[in-house]
């Protein structure tokens, strides 16, 4: 008997057949497929950018709070020796990570270095600056716990006889943090809506594919195909759309992210922040693709699980 020349043997397994069918569908209508992938890519790119960005932003917030410190100004009558001893004593406290004592002379030197008021101070004749202890609270898991910790310490220092005034440094970080929290909530909502839109785009596209495959499905049913055999190519098509759309989204997100990076870094530099936008890692890139693939799978399953009129029987 004649030996037929055939494609891959895999095309003749149930799963391979389904995959071949869905790939063929995508390729046959390549213009429409590309358009859909572009729509899908742009829709999903925005949530991806937000996700990349929000990882960097939480780094910024937490990193800066890690630097949070209190400056405790001592009374003018506290001598340097006593101030240094106090600093050492406080350092033992579990809520405090580190302390540094800034003597009155050091404070004056710093002040003179940073301002043009040398003459004015010289005119005073004596050093008007108090000694100070810079207190770095122990680090906590979250920025808010950290802030509470600093707040509690400040309250306790304020009650001490030897303390003139307490200043919580980097308070602006906390304000920025509130602003960022709000921003993140808004952006998350937007991301959810866009992701749902992506899901609908996939669902709708797959539904159209299903209509286009109607004849093949009818013939297959006549030949004894089961529900899952009929559904498989449709689910695969959805998953493929998710996979490819996810890849487009991840590329678009990375590209637009690199556009944001330069101005964002410059902005951060102006605020003397060590914060820099990190480019998305390979892991993040793959996560985007994986999440979108899952989205496609869900879109495909949604389509086939939706009760559709029976193709063959009249009841």
């Amino acid at each position: 008997m004649k030996e037929p020349v055939l494609g891959s043997r895999w095309n003749y397994t149930q799963r391979g057949y389904a995959l071949t069918q869905s790939i063929r569908q995508l390729r046959q209508r390549s213009a429409a497929t590309l358009l859909t992938l572009f729509v899908l890519g742009t829709t999903l790119a925005l949530p991806a950018v937000f996700w990349f960005g929000s990882a960097s932003l939480s780094n910024l917030v937490n990193g800066s709070v890690g630097e949070e410190s209190l400056t405790v100004y001592l009374s003018l009558d506290v001598p340097d020796l006593e101030g240094a001893a106090l600093a050492k004593e406080w350092q033992e406290h579990p809520a405090i990570r580190k302390t540094t004592y800034v003597s009155r002379d050091e404070a004056l030197a710093l002040f003179q270095e940073q301002t043009d008021l040398q003459d004015a101070i010289a005119a005073l004749g004596s050093n008007p600056l108090p000694g100070a202890i810079v207190v770095y609270p122990s680090s906590s898991d979250s920025a808010s716990a950290m802030a509470e910790n600093a707040e509690a310490l400040a309250a306790r220092f304020n009650q001490m006889q030897t303390v003139e005034r307490v200043q919580i440094d980097l308070d602006w970080v906390r304000k920025l943090q509130s602003a960022l929290n709000l921003f993140q909530i808004i952006v998350s909502l937007l991301a959810i809506f866009l992701t749902l839109t992506g899901l609908l785009v996939i669902g709708n596209t797959v539904r159209l594919e299903l209509l286009r495959r109607q004849r093949e499905m009818q013939v297959s049913t006549l030949l004894g195909a089961s529900r899952s055999f009929l559904n498989r190519p449709i689910v695969y098509t959805g998953t493929l759309y998710g996979l490819l759309g996810g890849a487009v989204a991840a590329v678009l997100a990375t590209v637009s992210y690199s556009f944001i990076k330069t101005p964002a870094d410059q902005l951060a530099a102006q605020y003397a922040s060590p914060f820099r936008l990190a480019l998305p890692s390979a892991g993040q890139f793959l996560t985007i693709v994986a999440v979108c693939t899952l989205l496609g799978l869900i879109g495909g399953l949604m389509t086939v699980l939706r009760p559709s009129p029976s193709i063959l029987t009249n009841r």
Binding site: M1, K2, E3, P4, V5, L6, R9, Y12, T13, Q14, Y17, R24, R215, E216, Q218, V219, S220, T221, L222, L223, G224, A225, S226, R227, F229, L312, T313, N314, R315
Partner: protein
């Protein structure tokens, strides 16, 4: 092989397509199903293939009583029979080979078996050399033979043919009839719907004659039709 007891089928439109049919066909038989257009031939075949459910009555094919059949068991039942359609129902987006292979892919056959079975089936309908072509390039008779190859490739016990010669000229009709006879000779029960006078006259097989949904040659409802020589076999 096939038994109908007081089977009626009304479509949703209210059209009573089949009215109180009772008959029994033996395993290995060759039976004509005949009657004018609209008499209910296709409806009867669709009932057997479980593409329709009877409004009343009991159908049994082989050991399967349809009244207790679950929806998810229907595909398997369909895989056990071969169906040849008047409009051949081929897919023109793939080769002849892939058309014939489809029932085997659906059935989960191994690649090696698919290759040998498809080529053997095409050999029997004398189209093995055309396996790589698109069926659109084949003549009507050739396409119908591809349809027959597809119907028998999974070696069913029962072959249902719904006017497979309807659109073909007499010579080709006879060719297709001979093919069906060959399959019948190898033990396949054949139910052949046709209103082709010439075929009915030249091949003396039992006939189920439908007239407006009723069996007109079955004055007594328990009429049994037997194959000419085929012995009773267990199905």
């Amino acid at each position: 092989m096939i038994s109908f007891q007081h089977v009626s089928l009304a479509y949703r439109t209210g059209q009573l397509a089949l009215d109180d049919l009772s008959f029994h066909l033996r395993s290995g038989s060759f039976t004509f199903l005949t009657g004018h257009s609209g008499a209910g031939k296709s409806s009867l075949l669709r009932l057997i293939a479980r593409l329709e459910k009877p409004t009343s009555g009991e159908i049994q094919v082989g050991n399967t009583a349809y009244s207790t059949l679950k929806t998810r068991q229907e595909p398997k039942l369909r895989r056990q029979m071969g169906i040849v359609f008047q409009d051949n129902q081929l897919l023109y987006d793939r080769s002849v080979f892939d058309n014939v292979a489809l029932p085997l892919i659906i059935g989960g056959y191994k690649f090696k078996d698919i290759k040998t079975r498809v080529m053997a089936a095409l050999e029997r309908v004398n189209l093995a050399s055309r396996y790589a072509e698109n069926p659109i390039n084949l003549s009507g008779g050739e396409q119908q033979r591809v349809g027959i190859a597809r119907a028998v490739v999974a070696r069913p016990k029962l072959l249902l043919a719904d006017e497979p010669t309807g659109n073909l000229d007499a010579e080709i009709s006879e060719e297709i009839m001979k093919l069906l006879l060959q399959f019948n000779a190898s033990g396949v029960s054949v139910l052949f719907a046709t209103h082709d006078r010439e075929l009915l006259n030249s091949f003396k097989f039992p006939q189920l004659v439908l007239e407006a949904g009723r069996l007109s040659n079955a004055s007594d409802a328990s009429l049994h039709l037997h194959a000419k020589q085929a012995p009773e076999t267990v199905s």
